[in-house]
């Protein structure tokens, strides 16, 4: 085991952000504080943004500078911030009769922000539309075609959002309690952001109607990979990872029985490596990350890490992984594990999502 021990490695911090700097973005709980942290390649803090409560994931602008941190479901706050710290963060709230689901995405050349939200009195999922130039003014919303819209990702065409509708009915009066386990109907919706129209919607076999799709990543071939959370009996072992190529039926991948078991019927995060050809799906419940060949759907292996959830493209190895116990590692299919942080100085729980920031496009 390699011990790079980020906390003590005497590596100088860059004085100012460089265009090609490897940076990560994540929410965390440190001692009793909830924060957003921008991290350098070694996992050290570059910027810390305090949050009023637990955060979840982010919308990140194309140049990697502007980002939005969302409250975790059923929270109502969001914080817009500059990942270089050049501008002060500004908070904004969901509409009073909506709450956030913790994810969002920029689109239309980063002019619009879309946030997945719950219209809980209307029992429908919506995407709130925010005008970035007007200081995140909410200018409208559209139905996502299902309940419980969670992660939203922008497709390579730059104008279509893919939204994972988990299908679970919740109401903030009851926290995250599922109110419709008998009638859950998860789906993936593709929405044209210029019109709000659902241009394609797919779902899986009705026998898997309790498999809530929550997390997404787009691979190098333009296919969407999704991870599910199964709300049925523990003895069931449904596949929880799938791929959808536009215009086709979704495909589900199981790997081996052991892999399925290691994933504990629960995927907490989905990411692709820098090449976009390998997909990683994390399971904090199973304490494992499974890797998949994006081209064939073959399972390439697993990495065991207790309470692992954060996963993003790595810098030295294909993927960087973070856990609720403060661990940070890099690994990949058939790769040795590099430990970047083993035991943090302060008690730290890395939250569900780790995102690698895009680097600024070369200027001139």
């Amino acid at each position: 085991m390699l011990l790079a021990a980020a906390g003590v490695a005497p590596k100088a911090l860059a004085a100012a952000p460089e265009p090609d700097l490897v940076r990560y973005l994540t929410a965390r709980k440190r001692d009793a504080r909830f924060e957003v942290a921008v991290l350098d390649e070694a996992g050290r803090d570059l910027l810390v943004v305090p949050l009023e409560a637990r955060g979840h994931s982010f919308a990140i602008a194309g140049d990697g500078r502007r980002a939005i941190a969302f409250a975790r479901q059923p929270g109502r706050f969001a914080v817009a911030f500059d990942t270089t710290g050049a501008e002060a963060p500004t908070a904004f709230a969901s509409q009073p009769d909506r709450h956030f689901f913790g994810h969002g995405a920029f689109a239309d050349g980063d002019r619009l922000l879309f946030a997945t939200e719950n219209d809980y009195d209307g029992a429908r999922g919506v995407a709130g539309v925010y005008d970035v130039a007007a200081g995140m003014r909410r200018i409208g919303e559209f139905a996502t075609g299902g309940l419980d819209p969670h992660e939203a990702v922008l497709m390579p065409d730059g104008r279509t959002l893919c939204i994972a509708n988990g299908g679970v009915l919740t109401h903030p009066d009851y926290g995250k309690l599922e109110l419709n386990l008998d009638t859950m109907a998860p789906s993936l919706s593709y929405v044209d952001v210029t019109t709000g129209d659902i241009v394609e919607q797919v779902s899986v076999d009705p026998s898997l109607h309790q498999l809530a799709f929550h997390h997404l990543a787009v691979d190098a071939y333009g296919a969407v990979w999704f991870g599910g959370q199964y709300h049925g009996p523990r003895g069931d072992r449904p596949p929880v990872v799938g791929r959808h190529r536009r215009g086709r039926e979704p495909e589900l991948f199981s790997g081996s029985d052991d892999v399925l078991r290691d994933l504990g019927n629960y995927i907490g995060s989905v990411a692709v490596d820098s090449s976009g050809t390998t997909v990683a799906t994390s399971s904090p419940v199973g304490g494992n990350v499974a890797y998949w060949d994006a081209a064939t759907g073959r399972c390439l292996g697993t990495t065991a890490l207790r309470d692992v959830c954060g996963v993003a493209a790595g810098s030295a190895e294909p993927f960087r992984l973070t856990s609720g116990y403060g661990e940070m590692q890099e690994s990949g299919p058939g790769m040795p594990t590099d430990v970047l942080i083993d035991a943090p100085d302060e008690p730290t729980a890395w939250d569900n999502h780790l995102r690698r920031l895009p680097t600024e496009p070369a200027s001139g």
Binding site: L3, F101, Q229, G232, P233, R237, G287, S323, Y325, A349
Partner: protein, 364 residues
Amino acid sequence: MRTLIAALGPVLGSALAILLASTLAHAGAPKDIGANLVDGYIRPATTQFSGDAAAMTRSLESFCGAPDAAGEAEVHARFDALVRDWFAVMILRFGPLVEDNRFERIFFWPDPRGVTLRQVQGLLAGDDPAAVDAARLAEKSVAVQGLPALEYALYGTGSDGLLTDSDQGRYRCAYALAVSRRIAATAGGLADAWAPGSAYARDFSMPGPDNDVYRDDGEVTAEAIKAMATGLVFVADAVVTPFLGDDPAKANYKRAPFWRSGQALPAIATTLTAVRDFYSAAGFAGSLDQSDQWIDGSLRFEIRSALAALDSVDVPLEQAVAPGPARDALTYVVIAMKSIHTTIETVLAQAAGVAVGFNALDGD
């Protein structure tokens, strides 16, 4: 220990910490916990629920044939017993109770949108042959075939018609009977699924490497802890808090389940005794290290205190939610339930070697 590890240096310290962690894993998991729970709690509770549901059906069969006050009193007594049985079974929200939506079929709750009331009133207002035929009722919404639906038929507006010799009264009684048969069928299925020789009882009682559901006592222990914690937080958040309200102005006793039959408070008390009995049957006390023995005393004390507080409520629910000693007692019960929940989910889980990580505990 922290100082010692620090003194040994990061590398050796980490190795020692890992060694300790693996040595301690499941040190406190009660041996044969699954078999002890099945014999000592789960089978008696599910058998009694099933038996009382069948008795309810028999009482309704004779009452509907010749309605009189004595028959109605018997039906009401049966209903009260059945609700209490259910709250002893409700904490078993894994495996068989999750399969086939059994939980929702018996107890469609919480129901913030009032689906049960709307749909049951709709059925009672019409003359639907499918509503009085248990087999066809099974195909209808789960909200019209469980205990809240039966309660409305027996105690709700218009239930005085049950004692009149009218078409409406006969139809209402026939609907109540069909619902009772549905509950008996679901309860019977649940008892069968836990009966000696059934697959789930075997998996739960005999964990092992070849067992597809539970690999060791630790996994069964984790399930048991989750069941108690989930049951408590469900009753605190979805049963008590909504009718009690954050402040007296928001209180509404009609948001309690079973307020019509006066079974709301007995149901809450049953949850507490259920958790206590389940915990005892699991054998946690005998498996705790000497230094963890205080957990047993603490849990028993908190449950006793909460039960005493409930017992002190000597006014009807509609008065109990108004400012005064009864409301204070109910407020305390919620606090106590959350505290017991936290003790079980964190301290007891830790002592039993099945602590759940930050991300796995409450994912998104």
